[in-house]
């Protein structure tokens, strides 16, 4: 049935709201007519009757005597017989459903009314706010990419390096790889939830661990920096999360474009506090959350168990902690568990994959040059971690945080591309993660003296010209541009988000407004600050763009040349691990120190 909507501002002047609704109704295929402001009530009623409209939408700003005026209109419409067939809605500031009921309207539309709401009313459907809660779905933003090389010289060099890595790993293994294998073969998530853990697993696992996890499994001792959550806390948590989940609504920050996906990091140390942070991030529009574990976790062979809380940065990875966090997530929230840098890299991928993570994070170069893990060990572990990531269908980003220590972007990128190529060969879906940062290289070289745009743009242009792969700047964007000033840091994050969006990247990780403060943990209101800022930057930009200066192209070329130079050296050396030790992907002078954790733990089977 064709539906006609008559819109009439009862206001002497204002009809903006009705004009917006009119456009929405027309986009939904409805016939509309908007009367000029201040049309007399009897005229409005006559037109509605004569021209057989189905719905009449009025608007009026409330003020002195307006309630009487509106009620009179309703009375006149009723007496004229208009209400037999025509529904009448009223919209305007301060119009609440209760007021609409009092005044006798069929519906009231206050500030924040959506077009869907108005359309539902016109079409006589029951308006169910649940339906209009923004539907968010998880998206695999790596799906559109083919991972083909635009720069074939580079592709050939990478192929050579990857083949060398694959043959070097050969039949090598490590305690980390063995634990991952054990976790993969003997540990089952569903059985864990039923508290029926495999006895064989529990017997063999401690043997592959360092003293601290060993003590936990064999003697029930826990890590000195942690405590176990009490039964009372766990019970209260259940009712807490149940109540929160009932009233959860997720928000979408993207305006017209679908990208980028917004990531927030959590890792307060405590799974409950993390969940508090996650529920806030989701509510204020984060699309995904990243699990951040403590740095000592990366240097310890093996995971602890139990419900552990920790007073310092980073939340301990235990099956209980990860499972509890996973269960707290909204269906639409993407979940990343970082595996990238330590002695538990492959096992993290397996554990996270079994519990339900969507993404992980792996980079052998960063992990061994700037995060303290032995290059040989992490190459073996990284290789298997990538294979598990492929098996569990978890795309992973290749973070290039070694840039923060002073490694030039092109060297970090060379390492990232080696990882990406290896991943493609192993059937995984890698994501490039260049930093959007005011890195030491920039501070010394002066490339960001004029603006933060050109060099970041150059990075994206360079990577795009080399390979067709997803890009996720991070982590977080604007690294080292942010201060403790919450306006400055929110602004900086928002502007970097603006740039990332203009450059068309697939995802971004954003900092909180107190990221630069080192005196205590990140606070929830500070997370909201930047989410709100980023939302506003999306609204501001829409489909418009940002124009870098000519420098961007120049630096793009320099980056590409630099990468090619590094890859040539690594390929010529014919030994990826040795290249790491020898500084081809970052020298000691640049702040890259090959790590020691896990040295001499690689064995031939």
């Amino acid at each position: 049935m064709e539906r006609k909507v008559l819109l009439a501002p009862l206001d002497p002047v204002h009809d903006i709201g009705l004009k917006m609704i009119k456009r929405g109704l027309e986009e939904s295929g409805l016939e509309t007519r908007l009367l000029p402001p201040d049309t007399p009530p009897e005229e409005i009623i006559r037109i509605a009757l004569d021209e057989k409209f189905n719905t009449l939408l009025l608007s009026r700003t409330l003020g002195y005597g307006v309630a009487e005026l509106l009620a009179r209109f309703v009375d006149l419409a009723d007496a004229a017989g208009l209400r037999e067939n025509v529904k009448i809605g009223i919209g305007g500031m301060a119009i609440r459903p209760e007021l609409a009921a009092e005044l006798g309207f069929d519906a009231g539309f206050g500030p924040g009314t959506t077009v869907e709401e108005a359309v539902a009313f016109v079409e006589g459907r029951e308006y169910n706010p649940e339906e209009t809660i923004i539907k968010k779905e998880k998206t695999d933003f790596t799906a559109p990419y083919k991972y083909t090389y635009g720069n074939q010289t580079m592709g050939n060099l990478l192929d050579k390096v990857s083949q060398q890595i694959i043959s070097w790993v050969g039949n090598k293994t490590s305690p980390g790889v063995e634990r991952a294998k054990l976790r993969e073969e003997l540990w089952d998530y569903q059985s864990f939830l039923k508290m029926q853990e495999n006895q064989e697993f529990l017997k063999k696992y401690p043997e592959l661990c360092d003293q601290v996890p060993k003590d936990y499994y064999l003697q029930g001792k826990i890590h000195p920096k942690t405590r176990e959550l009490t039964k009372e806390e766990l019970e209260n948590y259940q009712s807490f999360i149940t109540e929160i989940k009932e009233r959860m609504k997720v928000k979408k920050l993207q305006h017209r474009r679908k990208a980028p996906v917004i990531w927030n990091q959590y890792g307060t140390g405590c799974p409950f506090m993390d969940i508090g942070h996650i529920k806030v991030s989701e509510s204020w529009g984060a699309d995904g959350v990243v699990h951040f574990d403590p740095s000592w976790g990366a240097r310890t062979e093996g995971f602890l168990g139990g419900d552990l809380t920790h007073q310092e940065d980073g939340t301990v990875i235990t099956p209980n902690n990860l499972a509890r966090i996973y269960q707290s997530l909204e269906k639409s929230t993407l979940w990343q568990v970082r595996a990238h840098r330590g002695l538990n890299t492959p096992e993290t991928v397996v554990l996270a994959g079994k519990i339900g993570a969507d993404f992980t994070k792996i980079n052998v170069c960063y992990g061994s040059l700037a995060a303290g893990t032995d290059p040989a060990r992490l190459t073996v572990d990284g290789f298997y971690a990538i294979k598990y990531a492929a098996q569990y269908k978890m795309p992973f980003d290749i973070v290039t945080n070694e840039e923060l220590t002073g490694v030039p972007a092109y060297k970090a990128f060379a390492g990232m591309l080696i990882m990406a190529d290896l991943a493609i060969k192993l059937g995984a879906r890698p994501i490039l993660q260049p930093l959007f940062a005011y890195s030491p290289e920039m501070m010394i070289g002066g490339q960001m003296e004029d603006n933060y745009i050109d060099f970041n743009a150059a990075k994206i242009y360079a990577l795009r010209s080399i390979i067709d792969a997803p890009i996720w700047p991070g982590a977080p964007i604007g690294f080292l541009t942010q201060t403790e000033d919450r306006v400055q840091s929110s602004m900086s994050t928002s502007l970097h988000a603006l740039l990332a969006t203009a450059l068309g990247v697939d995802a971004i990780s954003i900092a909180s407004a107190d990221e630069a403060y080192s005196g205590g943990p990140i606070s929830v209101p500070s997370k909201i600050d930047t989410l709100r800022g980023v939302e506003e930057s999306f609204r501001f930009l829409g489909n418009a763009g940002i124009k870098p200066t000519a420098k961007a192209e120049q630096w793009q070329k320099e980056i590409i040349d630099g990468i090619e130079g590094v890859l040539k050296q690594v390929a010529a050396k014919g030994d990826f691990v040795q290249s790491l030790y020898d500084g081809l992907l970052g020298t000691r002078e640049e702040g890259a120190y090959p790590g020691r954790a896990g040295r001499n733990t690689v064995e031939e089977i």
Binding site: R227, E233, N236, Y237, S239, F240, E243, T268, G269, C270, F272, M273, G276, V280, T309, H310, Q311, E312, T483, E484, D485, R486, D514, Y517, G519, G520, P521, S523, V524, P525
Partner: protein
Amino acid sequence: MAKLMEKVMDALDVETFIVCDSEDEGKGIALEMMKNLGFDDADLVFIEFIGPGARIRARAYLHRSGDKYGWLFSSREGGK
């Protein structure tokens, strides 16, 4: 901790402007003020002193990670 403060998820920030002669004085006043307000675990996240005084962001953590969080319990005790 006062019952109401238990509802604060983690930190409470106080942002204001303090009329003072120097950054040090501003810092001292800000921290003293937080103490007088009854916050023992207080720190200055940010201070910027120019001309007439200092813009500050002082912070008190009401719940740090690993603490027993009031909000985790109060949802039940408060009843609905």
